[in-house]
């Protein structure tokens, strides 16, 4: 299980393949599920030009590790990877990657979704959006 924060743009698909090649032996898993969250250029009725993603160094990593660990045990995953951006983000940039590996599909799907939902409600990140009328903090995450 690995959790990473990145302060520069990253390619989630390359990240997934490189992690899989380095950490998972061929033939040991039967299912891989992944989720990629990407920055939109609109939110709450306004055009968003740029995003700054603030975090709480130390607590963010710890909470992400706890989430990935909890769901890995609950779903009996073989492995899991979570990568999350911090800092300045442009529309179209990937923000988050969650990938899960398990023997059968149900565990990989369930854990991938559960890690994302827990991350959204517990991991200390805050989005500040730059719009044409100035910058604003995002108050809440959408429910789904």
């Amino acid at each position: 299980m690995v959790v990473m924060l990145r302060d520069k743009p990253f390619d989630p698909w390359r990240e997934l393949v490189e992690y899989q090649d380095a950490h998972l032996a061929r033939g040991t898993y039967g299912a891989t599920a992944s989720f990629v969250g990407t920055m939109r250029d609109f939110n709450e009725g306004a055009s968003v030009e740029r995003l700054f993603l603030e975090h709480y160094p130390g607590m963010t990593e710890r909470e992400l590790e706890r989430i990935v660990d909890e769901e890995s045990h609950r779903c009996e995953l073989i492995d899991a990877l979570a990568v999350h951006r911090v800092g300045g983000i442009e529309p179209g940039d990937p923000i988050v990657l969650v990938a899960t590996w398990s023997a059968h599909r149900a565990a990989a799907f369930d854990a991938c979704r559960a890690i994302m939902e827990a991350l959204k409600s517990r991991a200390p990140f805050w989005k500040n959006e730059e719009t044409v009328t100035g910058s604003r903090w995002v108050d809440w995450n959408t429910p789904g």
């Binding site: 709480y56 200390p124 990140f125 989005k127 903090w137 108050d139 809440w140 995450n141």
Partner: protein, 77 residues
């Protein structure tokens, strides 16, 4: 006792600092730390708190040397 207080996102804008050190009477709780930095008796429902990088509640006890953080609802992902 001495505690370090960190605040994030729009709470930092509102309170006007990102990190400070406070002297408080021993036996204080998270709500006492909040009152010292905000002058509000109760921690508002939309303000989350942590002690030493773990989520805490307004009535959680604070010890000498602790790092107490306050922040708004999280919006990552």
């Amino acid at each position: 006792m001495t505690v370090t207080v960190k605040v994030f996102a729009h709470l930092r804008d509102r309170l006007g600092f990102s990190e400070t050190t406070l002297e408080l009477p021993d036996g204080g709780r998270v709500s006492d730390v909040w009152k010292a930095v905000s002058d509000e008796d109760e921690v508002p429902r939309h303000v989350l708190a942590a002690i030493n990088l773990d989520y805490a509640r307004p009535d959680s006890g604070v010890a000498d040397g602790d790092e107490v953080a306050f922040f708004p609802p999280v919006t990552g992902g």
